[in-house]
Structures are given as structure tokens and as C-alpha cells.
């Protein structure tokens, strides 16, 4: 109730402020609009322009910077978006709470033709029936290391517990990515719901803390690039740009204990108002030339099999990082949504590591 009231107040103030613009936007409510809600900097602007020119559909793009900030806007139904691009476990949560509608794959010929079946299979971890998701970008969580400071092969997460590298290690500052690492060292699933296993992982992180220089998200990139740290846990999508910025850096995409394969995918919310346009948009994104244009601008690995030959030449030595061999992702786990109680447990265990 109260939430509605607050929302109304908020909306009223927006109306007051927007004034005459309101009427201009009214016109857009026709058939030829598409409301896209995606990660920031996750779509090439040229690609969107091309879509608008080819289809005559006007794209209204809103952006978010975390899955968590996207979720409430969809759950509250405050705005009716037509296409979203959340990550695996968040797609799982949206399905779980009945907020998505199944895709009509008959309208998605490019997706069927070009998206690697492996990634549709991998998506089953969070989209059990394979009805809701078209994979857009993917990657792993790996170790970036500086060869000037690390003179040994890096193939195991255990190197992050090596006293030699005290104060030279950067870890991810997010509950699931941080806890995933010790879970894999201990041989447990990264989707475990067993409290004892989670506590064992927490204890390992507490034990590691004196060796850690900092926990971070985006700043890990800068610190590795400037040589401030020797080892850092990062997402594979950052790897190419980092290695270009500092030639001493190397990337291990999949330590031998196993790592997380993440997938961001296109989905259509249940309350979408332009479902047909949404399908057109998703299919457009799967077209080889478009996927290649997006890839060249973003650098994230694409599950689109037709892209590799289009961009291979430009990539040179980085081609294996951009298109990792099957061995990197086959058999790896992806995050699934564990429910609210476990979400809270993860948050709390991570907090216990950080206040320790």
C-alpha cells in the first residue's frame, strides 16, 4: 500500500517536471517502439541506430549497473520493458517469480542458426526448460597475473592463498564471486545450499584476508593495469583490454578446480507491450554482422558461432582469449538462484569475512 503511495508521489513529481515532454512521448506508445533495459555500455550505439533504420522501430534504452538494481523495477512492474539482458542467476530468479514470458523461437531464425548449442545447454542451469533465454555474452571468472611478479604457472585458485604474494592479491568484492573460489578449492558446488560447506569457504576467506591487498570490482582492473598487484580475480571480458594496456599481464580463464561460467541473455518480461518488436530486436542481435559489431566494441565473448571468422584478423594473438576453446567452459558450473534465505546467508557470510 504505502509503496504504491510513495510511487504515486514520485510519479506525480515526475509529471510536474516533465511538463510538455509528456505529450511528445505519448505518441511513441504506438506499435513502433521498443523499451530495452540493459547493462550500461552493453550495446553498440551504431547497432541500435541500424536497427531503428532497418525496422523503423524506435528504441528507448534504459541502463542498469547491477542485476540487483534492475530486479525491483521489473518485480514492482513500475515500468513495462520489452527486452532485458540480465545474468544467469537473475534470469533464474525472474523465472522463479513468474516475471518472464516464453520466447517464440519461430520468430528467432538467427538465434537458432548462429547461437552455439553449447550455450543453450549451459543456459539450462538457470532456464531449465530452455524457453526464456537467448544467450548474448558469456565469460568465465579467472585469474589475471603479472609475469614480472609471478614466476610460476598459474593454473590453480590455491595460488591466491600463497604467503609469497601477501599484499599482492586482489579479490572480487561480491558475495557469490568471492565465495565461489574457496568452494571450488574445497571441491564443493558453487550453488551449494549446505551451510557447513559455506562456512568452510568463509573460514578460508577469513584466513586469506591478511594476504589480500584489496577487495574490488572495477578498480581491480586499474590496479592490475598499473602493476600495483600481482594477482587478481577478474571476469574474462576484461582480459583482452587489460593485456593490451599492460603487456606483462597474462590471463588464466579457468583454474583447474573449476570456475564460474556466466551468461547474460536476452529475455522478455511478462508485462512487455511490444512482444513482436522484442523478438525482432533479439533476432537482430544474433545476426552475424551485428553480433560482430557489438563484440568489437565490447570485447565480451559471444556465443555467436558466425562471429569468429568476421573478427579473427583484428584480434591477432588475443583470439584464444576472445573465443576460448571448449575445454574452458565445458563442464563448468553457472550460478543458479538459490532463494531469498540463501541470498541472505551469502551476504552475511561475506560480511563476516569483511568485518573480520
Amino acid at each position: 500500500m504505502m509503496k504504491k503511495l510513495l510511487l504515486t508521489l514520485l510519479l506525480m513529481s515526475t509529471f510536474l517536471m516533465s511538463g510538455c515532454d509528456m505529450f511528445a512521448e505519448e505518441e511513441d506508445e504506438g506499435a513502433d517502439v521498443l523499451y530495452v533495459y540493459s547493462w550500461g555500455d552493453y550495446l553498440s550505439e551504431d547497432v541500435i541506430k541500424q536497427f531503428e533504420e532497418e525496422t523503423g522501430i524506435k528504441v528507448v534504452l534504459d541502463e542498469y549497473d547491477t542485476n540487483e538494481s534492475m530486479y525491483p523495477r521489473i518485480a514492482e512492474g513500475a515500468e513495462a520493458y520489452d527486452v532485458l539482458c540480465p545474468s544467469d542467476y537473475m534470469i533464474n530468479k525472474l523465472i522463479h517469480n513468474d516475471l518472464l514470458q516464453p520466447l517464440d523461437f519461430a520468430q528467432l531464425p538467427n538465434a537458432r542458426a548462429n547461437i552455439d548449442q553449447d550455450f543453450f545447454d549451459q543456459s539450462r542451469a538457470f532456464d531449465k526448460e530452455g524457453k526464456y533465454t537467448v544467450p548474448y555474452c558469456w565469460g568465465t571468472v579467472g585469474i589475471m597475473y603479472n609475469t614480472k611478479l609471478v614466476n610460476e604457472p598459474v593454473d590453480s585458485w590455491k595460488i591466491l592463498w600463497d604467503e609469497k604474494y601477501k599484499d599482492n592479491i586482489l579479490m572480487q568484492d561480491s558475495a557469490r564471486d568471492a565465495i565461489m573460489v574457496p568452494l571450488r578449492i574445497l571441491g564443493y558446488s558453487m550453488n551449494t545450499t549446505n551451510e557447513d560447506e559455506l562456512k568452510a569457504a568463509r573460514d578460508m576467506l577469513i584466513q586469506q584476508k591478511p594476504l589480500v591487498q584489496a577487495y574490488g570490482v572495477d578498480d581491480i582492473r586499474d590496479k592490475l593495469s598499473s602493476g600495483e598487484a600481482a594477482l587478481g580475480v577478474i571476469f574474462s571480458g576484461e582480459a583482452i583490454n587489460l593485456m593490451k594496456s599492460n603487456p606483462d599481464l597474462r590471463f588464466q580463464p579457468a583454474p583447474k578446480e573449476g570456475t564460474n561460467v556466466w551468461i547474460d541473455g536476452w529475455v522478455i518480461p511478462k508485462n512487455a507491450r511490444h512482444v513482436e518488436n522484442a523478438h525482432k530486436f533479439i533476432d537482430f542481435m544474433c545476426r552475424p554482422d551485428i553480433a560482430a559489431a557489438n563484440f568489437e566494441e565490447l570485447g565480451y565473448s559471444t556465443p555467436n558461432t558466425a562471429v569468429r571468422e568476421l573478427v579473427e584478423e583484428d584480434l591477432g594473438e588475443y583470439v584464444d582469449t576472445a573465443f576460448p576453446p571448449e575445454t574452458v567452459y565445458k563442464g563448468q558450473e553457472s550460478y543458479s538462484y538459490l532463494g531469498e534465505a540463501l541470498d541472505k546467508l551469502y551476504t552475511k557470510l561475506w560480511l563476516q569475512v569483511k568485518v573480520n
Binding site: 513529481s13 547491477t66 540487483e68 568484492d173 589480500v212 560480511l351 568485518v355
Partner: protein
């Protein structure tokens, strides 16, 4: 009389509207979130959660670092204001402006600058290395956070303190000297009591932002040193637990209200004393 009242009311309208929209409503939103359960009923469960050791530890550390920073700001600012009081000509003003300089720059920028100064391969360590001295380890420790807080919040101490100390009438100090007080006694019995309102409001203005900051601790503490502000930020963004975040904010508000009450009391005492003096 009535007409004046109504025009006063009219003039107060913009601020009244502002206060309701941006002060009262958000506060209400925080209270409401912190005290409701899943079904919208009243509950103290979130406040109880806050009493667990993880949160209390972060709260304790926040209070400790904020107190230390406030004390350092006071020790830095007080002598400065005494000196500035002596020389009221333009050079004093220049020094005064220099101390306020951090306010002119974006605090995020200055904090990031401190990051590059304190880093392992930062300016300080580069300098030490040049001299052949061992490196110091400051970044990502509580000390780095204190440095950041003092740098960012010092102007808030200098401003009220300068005003309070500048207001003290010279003749009072001269009278103290004439009556045989030595410099220490003059300071202890005359200057200090008379500047107390400045000390208290300066301390409040440093203590509160230091207590609630999350940017400084995130940037200079490498997220290894967790303050209450960081937990609140995490609860609202990453964990999507607005109830717990609100409950934590409520606990912080208690500290802030205590602080403001303290300020109000010393201020009131001071004005009361002054009016009494005036009447006598």
C-alpha cells in the same frame, strides 16, 4: 500583525515544500522500511539483526575512526584559528582560504588523489625508495581512512571554529592578562570556554560525515576495512535488503541525534549565559 504572519507563511512555503518532499518523506521512508515485516506489519526484527556482532563491530570501528578523525581535525584547526585571530589582515585570509581549498574540489577526486599518494607504488613510497628508505604500508588500512577523513572534513572544523574564536573580544583577553593570568591560564580559563560553541559545532560537522562515509573507506580502505556506511550501501545495492539497510541507518541516526542534542545544549547554555551577562 496578522498580515505579516500570513506573508511570512507564504515566504516559508518553498522551504516547507522542500522539507516535506526531501527531508520528511525520505526519513519516513527509512523508518517505515526499517520497522516493517514482509507483510507490511510492525516488527523489530531488523533492529535486532543490527545487534549482531558483525554489525556492531563495523559500527564500533566507524565510531572509533570518526572520533579519532574529529580529534585530529580539532588539534590541527585550533592553533590555526588562534593564529588567524591575531592577524586579521589579508594574509590571514589567504591562509584561511587555503584551509578551505579541499571544499572547492570534488571530494571523490581528492580521495582518489590520496589513493595514488598512499599506494604501494604511490608517491610516498616512490620518494622513500629514492632516499633508500624502507617502504611504508598505509593504503587499505584504517590509517589511510583517517587521513582521507581528516583531509576531506578539516574545512568543516575550521569554519565554525574560526568564527567562534574570531568573535572573542580582544579586551577580554587583555583583561585576563592585566589581572595576572599567564598564557596557559588565559587559554584554559578564557579562550577555551569562550570558543566551546565553535569546538562543539565543528566537531559535530566533522563527526557526522566521518561516521557515515562510505566512499572514503571504499577507496582508501580497499573494501578491507568495513564501516557502517559501506554496509548500508551494500544492503541497498548489492543485497537488496532495504529493511536491514534502513534499520542500520536508524541506528546511525541515533548517534547523529545525540550529537546534535549535545550541540544544542552547549549552544543554549552559551546564549543563556550571554543574555544574563547582558542584563546584568
Amino acid at each position: 500583525m496578522n498580515e505579516r504572519l500570513s506573508s511570512q507563511r507564504f515566504l516559508a512555503l518553498p522551504f516547507g515544500l522542500w522539507a516535506v518532499l526531501f527531508i520528511v518523506l525520505p526519513l519516513f521512508f527509512v523508518l517505515w522500511n526499517g520497522l516493517k515485516d514482509v507483510d507490511g506489519g510492525f516488527t523489530l526484527v531488523h533492529l535486532q539483526t543490527v545487534l549482531q556482532w558483525e554489525y556492531l563491530k563495523a559500527l564500533g570501528l566507524s565510531v572509533e575512526l570518526a572520533l579519532i578523525s574529529t580529534f585530529i581535525c580539532l588539534v590541527l584547526a585550533y592553533p590555526l584559528c588562534l593564529i588567524l585571530r591575531e592577524r586579521k589582515e589579508s594574509r590571514g585570509l589567504l591562509v584561511f582560504l587555503l584551509f578551505l581549498l579541499p571544499l572547492w574540489m570534488n571530494s571523490l577526486l581528492t580521495t582518489m588523489a590520496w589513493q595514488t599518494i598512499l599506494e604501494k607504488h604511490g608517491l610516498i613510497n616512490m620518494f622513500l625508495q629514492l632516499l633508500g628508505l624502507p617502504e611504508v604500508h598505509i593504503i587499505n588500512t584504517p590509517l589511510a581512512i583517517i587521513i582521507g577523513m581528516v583531509y576531506n572534513f578539516l574545512p568543516y572544523m575550521v569554519l565554525p571554529l574560526y568564527v567562534a574564536i574570531n568573535r572573542i573580544d580582544n579586551s577580554i583577553i587583555e583583561a585576563a592578562r592585566d589581572l595576572g593570568a599567564n598564557p596557559y591560564q588565559t587559554f584554559r580559563r578564557v579562550l577555551l570556554p569562550l570558543s566551546m560553541p565553535g569546538i562543539v559545532s565543528g566537531s559535530t560537522m566533522v563527526f557526522i560525515p566521518a561516521l557515515t562515509t562510505f566512499v572514503i573507506s571504499a577507496l582508501l580502505g580497499g573494501n578491507k576495512v568495513l564501516l557502517v556506511g559501506n554496509i548500508i550501501e551494500q544492503e541497498f545495492t548489492a543485497a537488496y535488503d532495504w529493511q536491514l539497510g534502513s534499520a542500520l541507518s536508524m541506528v546511525l541516526m541515533v548517534f547523529i541525534i545525540l550529537n546534535i542534542l549535545l550541540e544544542a545544549f552547549t549552544d543554549n547554555g552559551e546564549t543563556a549565559r550571554q543574555t544574563k551577562k547582558g542584563r546584568a
